[in-house]
Structure formats: structure tokens, C-alpha cells
Symmetry: C2
Subunit: 347 residues, 2 copies
Amino acid sequence: MKGQTIRDVAAAAGVSIATVSRALAPDKAARVAEPTRRRIHSAVEALGYRTNHTARSLKTRSTRTVAIVAPELANDFFMDLAEGMEGELDAHGYTLLIACSANSGEEEKKRFSVLTDRMVDGMVVIPAGARGEHLKVMAARGVPVVLVDRLVEGVNLDAVLSDNEAGAFELTRALLADGYRRIAFVGGDITISTARERLAGFGRALAEGGIRPEPDWIRLGGMGVEDGYRRMGAILNFRRRPEALVAVNLLVHLGMERRLLEDRRSGERNAMVIAGFDETAYTPFLPACRYTAVQDAAGMGKQAVRRLLELIALKRTQGGAEPAKETGGGRIIRLPVRIVRHRGGLF
Amino acid sequence: MKGQTIRDVAAAAGVSIATVSRALAPDKAARVAEPTRRRIHSAVEALGYRTNHTARSLKTRSTRTVAIVAPELANDFFMDLAEGMEGELDAHGYTLLIACSANSGEEEKKRFSVLTDRMVDGMVVIPAGARGEHLKVMAARGVPVVLVDRLVEGVNLDAVLSDNEAGAFELTRALLADGYRRIAFVGGDITISTARERLAGFGRALAEGGIRPEPDWIRLGGMGVEDGYRRMGAILNFRRRPEALVAVNLLVHLGMERRLLEDRRSGERNAMVIAGFDETAYTPFLPACRYTAVQDAAGMGKQAVRRLLELIALKRTQGGAEPAKETGGGRIIRLPVRIVRHRGGLF
DNA sequence: CTGTTAGCGCCTTCAG
DNA sequence: CTGAAGGCGCTAACAG
């Protein structure tokens, strides 16, 4: 019942198994005569034959499987990314494997081992931290890897990123255009490329607007909800408060809004507005959110997969000698972000 | 460099490949003498040998891989579920594969084919619709399947569900305890078990509270954001409005809040409160949200995996003859929900 | 407890 | 363009 093999097809079609194999090869332009091919395909239909990918993989050393490793799964950006990847992979006959690094470099490393053992053809990684020794190791082992969202110190891998600098720049410029002059930048671990780039964009917009950045209004720190919450609390205690805030990312933004919400509940009347990255179905409900820079997470997934597939193909042709010491060499793809205006602060 | 096989290990350890195989078997209590085992393990270390899972799979017809098929990936419930599954799977040496059915039964079917071709050992499915011919086919093919979130018409599969009836009951009772008497139920496709159960719980609470349900205040329909939005609009046009609302799910809830938000922005002062299912980081920002029934999505993932692993084990022992015509037979695991109070409606 | 021996299902030279 | 034959790396009886 479950054991239809290429052999059965060959018998039914009156050809040899080799011919069947050729006719069923996935990408290659298999050299099989049209009539023969047709006969084979009907036999396949008739028998309900399904290729055994495991056997094929054992021979070809390719599983047609690609993995995504993310710091956490419960995260909008990641899910959109995964959805984008899945679509593109599916179109190429690949399957997506997911793994969670739980925000730990150690765990990330372990996941890598499991995945390479499973012989994934390549992986897309959202780095957990700023460092990445293990990533270097991976690259050295010749596993095609594409980074997404952020770069990693001293690792020369291909990456797909948002144009963070431009995003923060536009966001800040929009606030300036609205007449805000007293603008702060909140959150961000400067060892992480994303934060660094966004801060740079913020600075450029201020400079272009002829505004000297006030050191007190650049509140760096972590990238989580708690960090945003705390930084916002500090800002609320300033004698001179900013009128508008640029949040380094969604989590920090969220924390800031929470703090603001509490403030209002205790009777305060703060009129600050926030500009931040990423949008969700809940953005309309964030009381202070005036602008968002929307990342094209699905698009990034798609691009990452495309590049990864290129690397995989490249490896197959050149691969063998040196374990792909030049696996791409740090090619970076930047995707633009889209600025969206919201009603936040208008209550 | 990359071609360390069991053979090399055998040579290095001075034993036969079969012994190595035994010593390295994953679950089985391999009968290998302790000293021998030690020798083998050091050889493995020394050579940097890594098991070739593909080859193993070809032999054992098990990939130690489990898939999750969801209608959409960008969804809080799913993400938590996946995270729960991943943790549990990892602990058992399994890997998670994800696939998106894009809310289409047709697509769901296609994904199934791909996955079974890949020889996943089993799958957890969040059904896309109420029907599920393909699910029946899967089950018949002997692929272990566990449903999550909802049951499917006429399919006798194991499932892990929230206690929806109790959740809606508690939610409604909480509203009653707050003094609300005029309570409506919003959204829900009654062909879907989840909606049916929740409506039942709502009804029971009303009955227990001695309140005759008002037919006009049961606004069934779809389960998406748009549906909630529209139903809410209709309710706002009633002469006699309810004071409180029970939303069938998060999306409907969200749509309702959106409509309410618009209403307020145009100057209206509605004081309705909403009780709904699921919680997210954004719940504090939903202006009308008073209560949520929090599903333990991660827990459900864990339970689903446990059951699935049981089914897989069962199949391995009994499997062979009839393609597991009794693959569990509709065993249902219910997880309780947790009621949480929020500040919504207090502005 | 350990070794020998067949394949698992497919791909891939190499001849024809 | 097609067929024959030899593994890919590992496991699972069977013997010893």
C-alpha cells in the first residue's frame, strides 16, 4: 500500500528505473524523450507513486529544506518573515524548518548542530545577539547562511536588512515637518547594527533640520518592552520634556506606550507623540503612535530565500574543494521601509 | 572533511559498524557493553562524527520530524502554540516543520502531500475550515494527526482544545457579577466547534443568571476582524444597546474595538465593555476590553506534541497491517482558560 | 554482547 | 536517448 517505488513505475511504464529517475528529476533538464516521459507520468498517476525524498536526499546530499533560526517565534516580524520565506520556498520545491534560539547564543549554536545534522541545505538566521562565533563556524563549515534584520560583528555573511537609517530619518523628518522640535530617541543597544543605523538616521534628520541633538534626549539601552517602559519613565521626570519620541523598535515602543498609558490613568495629561518601527493590527490603539516605519518583513523573507537559493546553487557547482570559504562574502540587500501616519496623540 | 561515516568510527574504535550503530541509537536501550560504548563515544568525539539522519531515516522510515499546519502564521495563538511544540519536540529529539495552509482547504491538502512525501512522522493541524475530507484521507493513510483549537466535522481525530464552553461561561459570569445585564454575543460561525462551544457557555451563564437571551443580541457571522467591525456597527445602531459584549475570538474582538474607537473619535461616548478570548501584549490598549479568557496556547502545543508522539510510537508498534484505522479514535484533551480582568471601559 | 549481511529507494556514471 | 550496476550511510535481523 505504501511501498510504491520507482521500480514499480519503471515496470508499469516498461522502462528502466534510471529513465524514471530522469523523468522525475526536479530541476535538471532531464533528457528523456517526450513520449517516454508521458508514459512514465501516467504510470506515476496510476500507481499513485510518490517520490521518496529521504532516499533522494541520501544520494544527492540535499534535502531541499531550509531552516529559519529566530530568537523567538512569538513575534510579528518573525512570523511575517516566515510567511514570506515559506511562499518563496514552496515555489521552488523547498520546505521550511523552524528553530528557536530562545535569544541565547548558546542555544543558537545547538540548533545549528541539529539542523546541519538534518542536512538542511541552508539557513536564514535572525541573529540573537551582536556577536556570532558560531555563525562564523557555520559559514566555515560551508553551510549557506543568510542573515536577516541585523548584521553580526566580524562575520562576513550575506544579509537582508531594512533601510534602517533611511527609516529613522524619514520618521524623524515627518515629526519635524509636523512642527515638533524637541525630539528624543529612545532605546537601542548600540552594539546592534539595527539600533546603530536607526540612531544615525535620527541624527541626520535632526542635523538637516538644523537642530542640535540634546544628549539627554538620546536614551539608549536595551531593546525590550521593559527598557522602553523604564526609559519613558525617566523622560516623564524631566523638567524639560521632549514633545516627540522616536522609538528604536516595536518592543521599546510598546513599553513606552504602556508607561504613557499609566501616566494618563493617574490623571496626567501628556501630549507626546511617538514614531516607531513596525506596524501591527494593534497600532491604531496605541495612544501616542503618530508614525510608523513599516518594514517589509515578508519581502525580506522572500529576498533572503532567493539569495540563499543562489548560494545553495553556487555551492553545488563550485563546492567540494574548500568548504566555500567565499560563501557570498557579505553581500547586503536593503529593503525600503514605508512611513505611515497614524492618529496617535490626537485624542 | 565532511564524510565521516559510521564506518570510520567503527575502525577507530576497533568494533563493527553494527555496534557503533547500537551505541548511537536514539531511544532504544541499546545493548552495548559500557566500556565498548565509551570507546565508541570517544572515537565519535575524536573524529567529529555526526550521524547522517537522512540515511537513518531511509532505513527506519522515520524522520523524527513533526509538522504544524496552520491557516496563517502571523497570528499570536499560532506562534505560542508553535513555541510550545518546539520546546516539547526538542526535548524528544524531534524537529518542527511548519507549513501554512493560507486559510484554504485546497492549500491545506497540498501541504499535506508535500509533508507526507517528506515523511514527517506526524502532524499537528489547526484546521482551516469546518470540513476536512483531506484530514480524513490523511488519517486513513495512517499519518498520525492531532487537531488543535477546533474539531472537524465527521473526522474522528485526536484533538487538543481549550475549554471553550467554560471560558465563555466564566467570561459572561464575570460580566454579570459586575452588574451588567444587557449582554450580547458577537461573531462566530456556528459550523465551527470553537464558536459553537463558546456560544453555549454564554447561554449557560445567562440562564444561570436568570436572564432570557435576547435573540437580537446574538450576532453570529464570520470570525475575522471585518466581521467584528460590521457586527459592532450594527449594534451601535440599535435603539436598545447592550452594555456589555462577549466576542467570540480575538479577531472579532479587534474589529469591534476598531469600530468603537471610530465611534468615539466622532464624538460618541459609548461605555460598552467587551469580554473576549486570548490576550496579547496589546490587550491593555484595547479601550473596551474588560475581561479576557486566556488560552494556554503553549500548553496546547505541548499536549498536542505529547499525544502525537504517543500516536507515533503506537503506530510503530502496531502499525503495518491496517493503516492504523484506529489512530487514537477521537481522544480529546481540554485545557482550561484563565480569566483576566482589564481596565477597559474605565476611561 | 558483538559481527555479518542485506538491503531502504534513489541517483549516476558508464555503456549501448 | 536509454539500461545496467554500484553504492549513499545506516539499521535490523540473524548468527556467533
